[in-house]
């Protein structure tokens, strides 16, 4: 009897979980979204239709027809390419205060062989919560130490890290900072200087080893730290350099010039102070969060809001990141603040679509709505930066993704909760 009961209970548990906890399946297929305003990003705004087949945008244009496609009425709706967060920890951090759920911070100063893609959790609860705001793709990266490892560009869909991969991995360097870590960093000025010089020396020595290794014809022995960075030293791969303070940015520019490193700078909170230099040396910048405090008490209150726009105006290629763990879903609003404080809406949209796609070398696949590109896009009923706007449909890798997640389920369950079991005292 028991033997029969247990499978039954198990079956019941699984079924009820399926109803209340898991996100419904996305579906690939043939979809025709018709009569919408399409914000292509690469080729202006057009009124028309989009045909999706499998994971690809098959056609974009007016009056498309297709007998077999599932039709989605886009009347009065807008279509945008999926937004790209070019720096965050999604999939690598589940609960910030629980260290064993954090996979972004390996021990050691030199850990360039750590790969974020290894530890991305495809089942993170964060992913469905993030993507319903139109964020389809994110560069998720490790931190800590001098060379924390390789970040990975991932799509917010897939059952394995490989399926999620968007085809780019980037090496990282934390530039030795001459600033304070944060407001409560109690080190003296001398200690900060000493720490910075020590780190600078480590960088110099380590990079000498990397360069020497990269020049060897037949290197022997297992040296993963050196071998992984050889492609950077040889100019065949990009290095993302986290650097924020003005003086540090200037020194980092010199370093990448001297070492002929193909660099993207990240953070760059004081980019506005040296925007011309960044432009002159054609260094692309990933900046953010925009919703942040100024990095010095003496700075104008809106310095973080205006930074991206100022760099763009100087001619720098700018992408925007959240640098978030839990609220990557706020990427559009970070971009919106940049838009409102000097960048303008069109450029701010580019900073979370085509600009990062270019920097990461995947602009043949994502970042705009064009025939042949990956079907990463969303449909909404207005300006995607405005809070009132509703996103009605979302496609990632061509999958029609359900607009639901644990937070919407909780809303559905508790908005009009039953008063509960009345207890008689």
């Amino acid at each position: 009897m028991k033997a029969i009961l247990y499978p039954l209970i198990l079956l019941f548990t699984i079924t009820s979980l399926g109803i209340s906890q898991q996100i419904s399946k996305g579906q690939q297929g043939r979809f025709l979204i018709s009569n919408a305003t399409i914000h292509t990003v690469s080729d202006g705004d057009i009124k028309g239709d989009i045909l999706i087949d499998g994971n690809t945008i098959l056609a974009v244009g007016p009056a498309l027809t297709d007998e077999t496609a599932v039709r989605i009425d886009g009347t009065d709706k807008h279509i945008y390419p999926g937004f790209v967060d070019s720096g965050c920890r999604i999939g690598l951090a589940e609960i910030s205060s629980v260290s064993l759920t954090q996979d972004y911070n390996e021990l050691g100063t030199y850990t360039p062989h750590m790969e974020a893609l290894t530890a991305v959790n495809p089942n993170s609860v964060h992913i469905p919560i993030t993507r319903v705001n139109g964020v389809t793709t994110a560069f998720t990266y490790p931190s800590g130490g001098l060379f924390p490892g390789k970040g990975a560009l991932i799509h917010m869909q897939g059952y394995t890290p490989e399926q999620m991969s968007a085809g780019f991995q980037g090496h990282l360097l934390n530039w030795p900072s001459s600033g304070r870590r944060h407001r409560w960093d109690k080190r003296s000025d001398e200690e900060i200087k000493k720490d910075q010089q020590k780190a600078q020396k480590k960088l110099k020595e380590f990079w000498q080893s990397v360069s020497a290794y990269a020049k060897m014809d037949n290197p022997t022995g297992y040296k993963p730290q050196l071998s992984t960075l050889s492609e950077v030293a040889n100019g065949n791969a990009k290095l993302l350099v986290e650097v924020n303070k003005k003086e540090d940015i200037i020194n980092a520019i010199k370093w990448v010039q001297d070492n002929k490193v193909d660099a993207i700078f990240t953070g760059v909170s004081e980019g506005w102070r040296v925007a011309d230099s960044l432009a002159k040396y054609e260094i692309p910048v990933i900046t953010g969060p925009i919703l942040d405090n100024p990095s010095r008490d003496s700075d104008r209150y809106d310095a973080p809001y205006t930074n991206a726009g100022k760099m763009m105006a100087a001619g720098v290629l700018v992408a925007i990141r959240t640098n978030e763990s839990e609220n990557v879903r706020n990427l559009p609003f970070n971009a919106a603040f940049a838009a409102n404080y000097g960048m303008g809406v069109d450029q701010a949209i580019k900073a979370i679509t085509i600009n990062p796609a270019r920097m990461f070398g995947v602009d043949d696949q994502i970042g705009s709505i064009e025939e042949g590109k990956l079907a990463n896009l969303f449909v909404c009923d207005g300006d995607p930066f405005e809070m009132k706007t509703r996103i009605t449909h979302l496609f990632i890798n061509g999958y029609n993704i359900p607009m639901e997640n644990r937070q919407t389920y909780l809303y559905d369950e508790f908005l009009d909760r039953d008063s509960g079991n009345k207890i008689k005292n």
Binding site: I95, R180, E270, L291, N293, A339, L410, Y411
Partner: protein
Amino acid sequence: MKNIKNIIVAVFTCLSSTLVTGQLTGDILITNGTVITIEDGVLEDTDVLIRDGKIKQIGEGLSFSNIETIDAEGMYVMPGIIDAHSHVGLDAVNEATNPVTAEVNVGDALNPYDIGLYRALAGGVTISHAMHGSANAIGGQCETIKHRWGVLNPEDWRMKDAPRTIKFALGENPMRVHGERNDVAPRTRMGMEQEFRRSFAAAKEYKAAKDRSAKDSKAQSPDYSLRLETLADILDGKIIIHCHSYRADEIIMLMDVLSDYGVDKICFQHVNEGFKVAPELAEFGAQASVFSDWWAYKFEVYYSTAYNAAILTRNGVVTSINSDSRELIRHLYHEAAKTQRYGDLTDNEALRLITLNPAIQLGIDKRVGSLKVGKEGDIAIFSHHPLSIYATPLYTIVDGRVRFDREKDAADVRVDVDPETEIPAFYESSLHNHEEEGCMQGVHHNHHSH
């Protein structure tokens, strides 16, 4: 040479601040704005006249001679934003030495030089509830402050005659600080309950002993204890409790304890799982002050939803959205707007979350929180509707005095320029995430894992 120049600048700044801003109240006329009153609808092309710090008139075609005037045509005029949970402007936040520290008061450590106060003003925030941290079950008393940037006397930052408030805290923070780290109860949510019962029982006995000695000269009066005096004042309804809380069970627990002691003035803070017990909160008359969308920064907020504010509002709980952050306090209007994406609140419902509702929670709703004749002249003026992402705060007015003016904003507004430091410190990260910077400030000295 530069040092000398800095000293001169510093001295001049101090002097001019005192001279210009020494007065706490002022007169001002705001004309032709779209006036969002909160309690009486939205009025187009309307003027607001403030005299001696109070709203004197709201109407069309008002005039007054020789008065500072803001032409608000095309702009949106709303009540100054109120943040029911902040630690900006405090020199000390956590007296983390005992699970019960009702005797301390953060108002004794106000810091009018904190640049964060100006940045809050630049986000339209005129009043904040400067709170003790969440290290203790019963923490210290809090201070409701008016953002009078440039006024250097800390006493003048207090909102005079605002009701007294005190910080309570449930869950992980007090359990970690005392139970895990110091091996002192509480280590569990069971232990938490007993901290409150023990404290209230002691206060009740203290009160009774005082009463006996007042009536009977032979009865010995109890040794004076500021801690017990404060707890007794809570029992007497003289202090509003603001309780850091997350989980449904602990929220119910505290309401049960308060019921047993006849205490009903309570606003739950953060209260990420408030939505799960919204009917119970409403029935008790408890209020809720929440984040718009923060979650997953610790285990007890893993099962949160950004729809919390909307669910609480729809269930009749007086709800506000707070910052608990030097960063979020700069754009509470944007945080309030999130309730329109997550739960479809109306414009007025969303704006109440950062105006009248926090005023109710702080017991100052007769004075501020809406635009009404007779109320205090605290006003925020925006370029666009404040719930639009394109809204830029343009002016912030406290008691009829302009404390933020975007046009005239000087890049460097510090009032405590240190002549010894040529270049102000640079911060790599504002560490605006979560509690290390807010609630748990001063507790995590050795733990900056961020």
